[in-house]
Symmetry: D2
Subunit: 359 residues, 4 copies
């Protein structure tokens, strides 16, 4: 029951890295919404590997087949199912690993939980490849939200020690979506060059590097969300940790708030230039008491370095109970933070669409 | 439906700051577990205000009445309900505020969501006072977990710029629980003095200050949790943001991972001194692929400064649509991070008890 | 997690028959709805025992205390908690029974599930007394629905072999609510006399008797409900079996449909006298494909005879594993079907309020 | 969110009658269970149309493709997805109907709910064809349960006025499963002939006929289920009404209990021939207080006549708001009750597997 989230818009992800196929069912989409399959493929291309030296050379044909829920370019109101075939898999690469869990992968915990019964070839259901169907579902959600004037954008905020400019406090849709239209999703391309240099440096040393991603949502109605355990933070965090490799999330000024005084951190109310109630700062990230206040919703996540690296690593033999050295063969990303950018937009879109469906 | 969380152990919190009473129902506790009411009251005393210069002087009689679910010192297996009366409330303090939302409180978002219909005296259902029933529920959960060899401890990791020592990588139960037995919950009392100085300095300037809290769980079975959207991180984060003022959460090395190389961040497997499989480091925080690996589960949260401060602040009149200056009267904590410590333990205990009930 | 139902309006029932008290939390009520406590007490009086020779002489002071969620006669938008004290309990009556499970009660299954650890005095959490808090929650829901033009009524359709007249196909609100305003909730009082004679006859022989209840909802918007597993039937049935002693439910012509031809059972569409689309018959009970069609929603339930009877019965000793004879002392209803009438209205109201909250 | 059910074993059904395909995702299956695809196809053949004069001549190639969750004949522990292509569809048959809702179908309620936006060709997502993926999921669940010694069987108890013999009170597995191995699923073949005569008679008159189905589960552990809203009855009823055309359900003696005395209806406890606690009768249907008591779980459902009949019927024009006469062309079953038999077994198996996963 773990690969499911959402209350009124329910997303159910399935598939293993080296099985017959992967996919997603989305139950609860509104009927009659226009969906462009081309726009969907463009969105999906953003997470696709193989497109650049910064990504794994495994070539996926991530083109989904939509079995249900779409008819003549519109949602039918019934559950949408999309499947993606698995083709370019090389199980041989992983076979020897089954006894030697890769550090900081789910190999060992899956072994414990399923007592060796789970199909873990290629990472099984834990594979980053499972983010492709999330992007199908989320790509559709993004199109629906855009029709309601809600836009979600994200960009790489840092890679290793190289940093991008953050979004401005009040971005318009163009500014928000600009990084997603670039080959490397940053606000400031010079910053992006420094980040790419960090990735190349790590790759050269058969190593990998982590990063952070900033995400913002504009156009959200104020008054959205619920108190306590169903606040915006709870819902977004509860879903976002389903993206592999995410290890932290913060809303508004987040961990920065912890070092602030109240007089700095509080967002004073004002009447803005359009005569609407707004706040002068947005340390709250657009959320108070779990409920949106009309300012942009903002959060950042931390993405750990790809755990698959080419260097020899210490591990243990599960059968022999001995310490061993492991060299992971195969094809791996020196960084996954930039590929996490569209996935984060996708998951955020699904959470928000779910919430709107409850109103 | 917002004040409810958990799947098999379901917690439902109720009450408004200035209504007849507050409380909690916990459905799904195991039957026949021994519960000490004295130990429960001691635990609750840890979040109680009025005990020190660092907290609000409002005196709560937080003694809960347990209406059901306990019989002769044991859980009955049926839903437990505990209620706490509201006595020392001064609604006059808040009356004038109803038209002037306090910055970075839920006043404005509640006004938007309920169109002015919600009873927001004293913060209403958003009041920090609602963490008292959470502590009743969580205090009981902690006792049940301790009987299963599972211990949860937390401490203030920082206040403003003053920092405590983190827990050691492999704490025993005594080390873990030691901060909770002090008047000021830190590992290193000299660090605690610096933190208290930060709080006093803020108070003196009619200001407040934020902080971070580190939480650890030991004794958890390995293999606990589920992939994707029901991982340990999802479940804990999804609940923890229900605690007022929390703005961020990170697991293991969290945001620190983002600046690391994979070769640093990966936790190499080893055979430990007891001959068990372990990891040499714990950047993963005891979780891989959403599932526990047998190492201590570790996470940190960011707590923003108390939004109620004595300084004049900018706000708006909801009726007049004009910018106004607000001076909040009444009694407020210059810091709530140390009071969040037992609440964090409580919520974590409930999440883990829920998860164990599903196995 | 068993004593909870609803998605957006979530009801959590607590308490044991002989514990400190019983009650309910309702999370998700709309804010600002006017609630009359007098009307609520009148509604609750309908299920109260001790009012007539047809009911147990146990006198309950079922007056609830509302701790939260109501302020100055209006819902606050936050969770409502109501508690009812347990006073007139005589645990002595039940003590000897703990080793001798009462036939067709939950004593034995509770013993199996909780291994003797549950507090089963007076039936524990399984007691019919727990329907009192359901009536608090449902009585409030009924008031809210009435303000939206939705009315729910029920009456005894049969007791033993004595039958009442069914509701007309298209009742107005007065007709629907009339039985609930009588001491004995039937449409036709002469039928009611025959039913009462059945109850008296059973009581005289230290026996009990079952019955059926018909329930109808008018004023529902058409198009309410969802396909497949969240249809109106699924939701109502999923909740209604939470009322003790209910053993069957049928919608529209229900089991009667099984013996019909399609040409009889299909409801032909027509334009009614007000120019609206309607159906000429209502074998569907106002539901097609799980969704309301604008006709009255109709269903019936079967209520088994009170399992507590004064006659000697065969049972077993749980400790001795021997067959024994049991004579149940204490105070018991010769029929509970008429007391189930308001409870059925209450639960139905909660299901519908929940569904409306999702729209 | 309507086409989803289950808590720990979660079933998500998708597809429209005339879309690209239909299917199911089952999340939460245990890992390492042996599944025979041949046995699954045999099970699915039981609901397949086209096999007899009693069913629609539409030929479906119901052979599912299993995309994930199975590897080398064993469950992987990850979500299982099975898809079935739609091939033999003739949308022309239904096109004219879009303005003339078929009586007692979901056409009109779907029109109301989705304002004409849903793809309702062939009944859309409401089509009986969607029970095929339910049989994939349930067929796998039945295999898993059988490995645990739990067997589920069902048979036609009546068609129109013709009745089968009920199952004996304590059937063995062979007796339970025997009807399912026949072309016409009854206990007593002579009764089956009378039923088939009823179906043929209805077909001859371009009419259809309803029926009832009895279902039993043996081998269930005692003590399974939960009180109040998560009892066995709630869970089974909550799912079973997801099967199209079911209008009623009763447990044990069900509606028959309503006419009984307590002294008849109560199930006296005894020590059975194996020295185990049992009951002498089973009016409770194996459930007390929502929890299994170790006796066979028994329930019956009412299936209405197929609403599609060849006779002219009264309907209305949605666009013209006039009364019209409708003649449904196309291929339809004169009875669907016998095809509901395996579907009922399938859904019951999924509910029970879900419940076992929670223990």
């Amino acid at each position: 029951m773990a690969s499911v989230f959402g209350e009124r818009v329910r997303v159910s992800v399935f598939g293993e890295s080296h099985g017959g196929g992967i996919g997603v069912v989305v139950d609860g989409l509104p009927a009659g919404m226009e969906i462009s399959e081309d726009a969907l493929y463009s969105f999906m291309a953003r997470r696709k590997p193989g497109g650049s030296p910064f990504s794994t050379p495994r070539k996926e044909s991530d083109r989904p087949t939509i079995l249900s829920g779409l008819f003549e370019g519109h949602t039918t109101g019934f559950p949408l199912c999309a499947t993606i075939c698995n083709t370019d898999t090389r199980s041989g690469d992983y076979k020897a690993l089954s006894d030697l869990p890769r550090p900081s992968h789910a190999d060992y915990t899956a072994f414990l939980k399923w007592q060796g019964q789970a199909d873990m070839r290629g990472g099984g259901h834990f594979s980053g490849r499972l983010t492709a169907p999330l992007c199908v579902a989320g790509g559709i959600a993004l199109q629906i939200l855009a029709q309601k004037g809600i836009f979600i954008g994200a960009h790489l905020l840092s890679v290793g020690n190289a940093k991008d400019q953050p979004y401005p406090m009040l971005p318009d849709a163009d500014t928000l979506l600009a990084p997603g239209q670039k080959a490397f999703p940053v606000c400031d391309d010079r910053c992006g060059e420094a980040m790419q240099a960090e990735i190349m440096a790590a790759a050269k040393e058969k190593d990998s590097v982590g990063g952070t991603v900033e995400c913002m949502v504009i156009g959200l109605p104020a008054g959205l969300g619920d108190p306590m355990f169903e606040g915006m933070e709870n819902r977004i965090a509860g879903a976002v940790f389903g993206i592999p490799a995410i290890k932290g999330i913060e809303f508004g000024s987040g961990f920065g708030c912890a070092a602030m005084r109240g007089s700095q951190c509080n967002d004073p109310f004002c009447i803005d230039e359009n005569g609407k109630i707004a706040t002068e700062t947005n340390h709250s990230g657009g959320i108070q008491g779990g409920i949106t206040n009309g300012m942009p919703l903002r959060f950042c996540v931390a993405v750990k370095p790809t755990p698959s690296i080419g260097q020899p690593q210490k591990t243990v033999s599960l059968s022999g109970h001995t310490e061993e050295t492991l060299v992971i063969q195969g094809r791996h990303d020196p960084c996954i933070a930039h590929r996490a950018v569209p996935v984060l937009e996708a998951v955020t879109a699904l959470v928000i669409l779910d919430l709107l469906a409850e109103q």
